[in-house]
Amino acid sequence: MPWVQCLCQETMTTDEATKTEGEVQAVALTERGEDITPAQDRGVLKIIKRPGSEDESPMIGDKVYVHYKGKLANGKKFDSSRDRNEPFVFSLGKGQVIKAWDIGVATMKKGEICYLLCKPDYAYGSAGSAPKIPANATLFFEVELLDFKGEDLFEDGGIIRRIKRKGEGYSNPNEGATVEIHLEGFCGGSRFDCKDVKFIVGEGEDHDIPIGIDKALEKMQRGEHCILYLSPRYGFGEAGKPKYGIQANAELVYEVTLKSFEKAKESWEMDTKEKLEQAAVVKEKGTMYFKEGKYLQAVIQYGKIVSWLEMEYGLSEKESKASDSFLLAAFLNLAMCYLKLREYTKAVECCDKALGLDQDNEKGLYRRGEARLLMNEFELAKCDFQKVLEVNPQNKAAKSQISVCQKKTKEHNDRDRRIYANMFTKFAERDAKEAASKTGVERVAEKAACEKGLKTPGAEDEEAEGHV
């Protein structure tokens, strides 16, 4: 198509020529543009100005990076991402952009530049878009597809989703919802699983489905068909899955169709009696997962108890007792799970809550000690273990942990002394700054008035204490 090249050269020319060039493009589009609307109503016409470098097109839900320029029929430019100096990013096929774009960009290949001529029905219609787009305007766009990537569901790179077929509506299964899905699992290019299955979100493990699928389902809509790329963390992890011959730390790919689902009751939809009954069920379930070493799954089950009962008011005395005992068990077990998952801050939080219910709880104190020890908070850890001994002087494990704490404290101190020897000056300065922000100007003013260049002794002391 030689005329396409001719157009290419034209765009390289000066701004002077843009207006006429715009007209030429519009005419070319009307005459030769391909109708890309599903309805074939010539609502969006497209001409490829520069073919893409790769054959792949973006899928629904993909994060799409484009540069573009938009003009009205009279040639007046109304928008350009290049003027803003940064590519425009949006999620494809989700109705975030005008219809013409969701349709048009989906047809593009990576690296492609195309022209789109968009009828008002596919743009801003009779309402227009104040202040730039008048009513019933046909819009002309030049779009360059720079890049696209699958949707990063939890923004941690752990689960990447690419949607093959969009689902209906905007509601998703929640944790505990019953779902019916079809899934196919792949590892290293070969298929290891293919089945139709009905299960409860959060309990996929019962059907040899990794936690990542449970998590992803909570972001899917009825009827959606998508590909999910799971990192090992969301797959079968370090344990692998001997049943399917999957090694440790394997990357997995799943194709999932969510056929239907029924939402689980939200906490506010349940009465106390129901909550207590269910708490017994999920506690059992959680313990089963825990014993199998499925800590993520166990966390989901124990978490349900917390979400149902933590904020429940107006209980009878009997109910309240039962509720507290469930909560205590849930927090203690959650703490244990988080220890295993190496999420020590969360473990400490759970112990705090358990101890809030029962301040002398031996397990609670011991686990908090463990978590703090692993977080290098030796002093605090030692306190916890000492409290364990106060509650139960027979606890040998706590005794040995105390000596571990002491040993570590000493090691740590020696190392700190070496490392931080020259850093006090720096810390003191930073402290001074923080002090200023806390107490306002007066203190700083005072300080500055007395001394210049000298560090405040107070700050230095504080810092030193922190490292003893």
Binding site: Y68, G70, F78, D79, S81, R84, E86, F88, F90, G95, Q96, V97, I98, K99, W101, Y124, G125, S126, A127, G128, S129, A130, P131, K132, I133, F141, E168, G169, Y170, S171, K433, A436, S437, G440, V441, E442, V444, A445, A448, A449, C450, K452
Partner: protein, 605 residues
């Protein structure tokens, strides 16, 4: 005036004495008592009106080192002095030059703290004056600072904004023009103060994106967010006739320019709800931060979409429904407030978001987002409870606009939701009238499944019923009941029993049972009750003419003037009139039903 003269010489002499002693000292040898003596002597010079002499001392090249070290001490007495002189006083002019000199000569670190201290200590009427006086030297000093510049700029801006925040924001045209406390002027001065730092960030961003640049940028961002919340969220931002340069519109433009220049504008408007909040350790702080920024971003969206500030930088490819979705969060934030300035901003933002859409183009799926259900309920609250009439009217017209934008399924769901949640007979009556309009459309223009057949019947169940059967308070619910009866009358006239497009004929027995029958009973009871009451009142009036104030009404804590028996009778009569009205429509409906059924029966026989 020998006496005064000797005093003056004393003050100046003392200053000269300490200066001379220090001139020979090395910088490092200045002692605490020197600082003190210098301060006392300088202060005395100022108090005794010898600013000119002091200025001379300061300008003297020989004293450079002394001023550099000790000069900042004079800020406090200097500011005090300046405010005692009149605008045109020469001495004031001298003082201002001293201030200017100090900004040039003093050690920036100390002067910075001195200036900030002054701003921190001012309050009430003097805040704006003080801030405006010190902005210029503060800027000079900050530009000279070597270390912790970003932090210091941030501290200054935060301090200034904190001091301004308690001041009332001028709202009416007159208040704005008068600008009694100088807030309008001051805000714009603060923006000018920030400009060099903005430029610095822009320049740095063009070069690279290193860590310390981020710091200054964050501080400026904080300042913008704060400004959006106060004063802009509370300010009147409509164009005002007769004010050429509306100070808050100008301020808003400048703030948006800063955001645009530091490239935070678009991310703020669009990425906000994805939770890009700073990591606070304390949950409470995180919540406060989120709430604060929700207010600020809501104001920003209002500025962009309603006032079109900064809209030229805004991408024109977003779909109107997506913009509505994004703005819905902000609208909800604003409509939850009670202040006129915020409510009207919320309503304007909602209106402008809806006006971007074509009728019937909003998919019912959007009702799955919580905001889309919550916000119309907030509207209902405003239209029924807000004390300001123009806002009540506006919210009603926006509710209609919102209804109009939905597809038929969306309208259907929305009607159901509003009927169940509004708890207000007037609103329910309004919704029922809307239902009637939709049925009319589906019967006359284009067929749709939602306002005919079984879907409609289940909706009619909600409409054609009395909340508490025959015991329902008919007077309180009269709006709703009249609308329901009108709807039913429309249905039986428009839809022949043979067609039964709407399905109303199939469900007639149920309607009779749940609605017409209890209504008839209720009407009879109510009428009897009110008639008895009237009779009672009239007799009472004859008997006890003296004490004719029997009942009292309290409206929002204030006791209304007591009702006389005459007024009470009037009320009772008007209630009876309402019942008569309901009864006549009810009779008409029953008659229509009877005639139609009879016609069909005749046809069949």
């Amino acid at each position: 005036m020998p006496d005064e003269h000797s005093q003056t010489t004393m003050a100046v002499d003392e200053l000269q004495a300490i200066i001379q002693r220090c001139q020979i000292l090395e910088e490092a040898d200045f002692k605490g008592e020197d600082f003190n003596l210098f301060l006392v002597a300088g202060q005395k010079c100022l108090e005794d009106g010898y600013a000119a002499q002091l200025l001379e001392v300061i300008q003297n090249e020989k004293n450079k080192v002394i001023i550099k070290n000790m000069g900042w001490n004079l800020i406090s007495p200097l500011v005090r002095c300046i405010f005692t002189y009149k605008e045109e006083d020469d001495k004031r002019e001298h003082c201002l030059r001293i201030l200017d000199q100090l900004a040039q000569l003093c050690n920036p670190k100390e002067l910075f703290l001195g200036l900030l201290e002054q701003i921190e200590q001012t309050s009430g009427d003097q805040v704006c004056q003080t801030v405006m006086l010190l902005l210029q030297p503060l800027q000079t000093v900050l530009l000279k600072l070597q270390n912790k510049k970003a932090y210091s700029v941030g501290l200054s801006l935060a301090m200034i904004m904190n001091q301004l925040t308690p001041l009332p924001v001028p709202y009416t045209k007159q208040q704005i023009q008068e600008d009694k406390l100088g807030l309008c002027q001051c805000c714009n001065a603060v923006v000018d103060f920030a400009k060099p730092f903005v430029n610095e960030v822009v320049k740095n961003m063009e070069k690279s994106s290193e860590y310390h640049d981020m710091e200054l940028k964050e501080e400026l961002l904080k300042f913008c967010m704060k400004s959006l919340k106060y004063p802009l969220l509370t300010a009147q931002l409509e164009q005002l006739e007769g004010i050429e340069e509306h100070p808050f519109r100008h301020f808003a433009t400048e703030i948006i320019n800063i955001l645009w220049n530091i490239r935070e504008l678009i991310p703020l408007v669009f990425l906000h709800h994805k939770g890009k909040s700073p990591p606070w350790e304390n949950q409470e702080f995180a919540d406060i931060e989120r709430k604060n920024s929700a207010d600020s971003v809501a104001c920003l969206s209002y500025l962009m979409f309603v006032q079109h500030f900064g809209i030229e930088c805004f991408p024109v490819v977003f779909s109107p429904s997506y913009l509505l979705l994004c703005n819905m969060t902000h609208i909800e934030v604003l409509l939850k407030r009670t202040e006129e300035s915020m409510l009207s901003k919320g309503l304007d933002l909602f209106e402008s978001s809806l006006l971007r859409m074509e009728d019937n183009s909003l998919l019912h799926d959007y009702l799955e987002f919580r905001d889309f259900i919550n916000v119309p309920q907030d509207l209902v609250k405003i239209m029924t409870l807000c004390p300001m009439e123009h806002l009540r009217k506006k919210s009603l017209s926006i509710l209609q606009l919102f209804i109009d934008k939905f597809d038929t399924e969306g309208k259907y769901t929305l009607f159901r939701c509003l009927l169940k949640t509004s708890n207000h007979a007037g609103v329910e009556g309004y919704i029922i009238k809307n239902i009637k309009d939709q049925i009319h459309l589906s019967l006359t223009e284009y067929d749709n499944v939602w306002f005919t057949g079984h879907h409609l019947i289940s909706l009619l169940d909600l409409v054609l019923s009395l909340p508490e059967g025959a015991e329902t308070d008919l007077l309180q619910n009269s709006d709703r009941i009249m609308a329901s009866l009108n709807l039913l009358r429309y249905l039986v006239i428009k839809d022949c029993e043979s067609d039964n497009q709407t399905g109303v004929w199939t469900t007639l027995t149920k309607i009779e049972q749940n609605f017409l029958k209890p209504l008839r009973v209720g009407l009879n009871m109510s009428k009897a009750h009110y008639e008895a009451e009237i009779k009672n009142k009239k007799e009472n009036r004859k008997e006890a003419h003296s004490s004719n104030t029997v009942c009292s009404v309290t409206v929002s804590g204030e006791k209304m003037p007591a009702m006389t028996t005459g007024m009470q009778l009037q009320v009772l009569h008007s209630a009876l009139f309402t019942f008569d009205l309901i009864e006549s429509v009810l009779a008409r409906v029953e008659e229509l039903i009877e005639v139609k059924i009879k016609a069909v029966m005749d046809e069949n026989s």
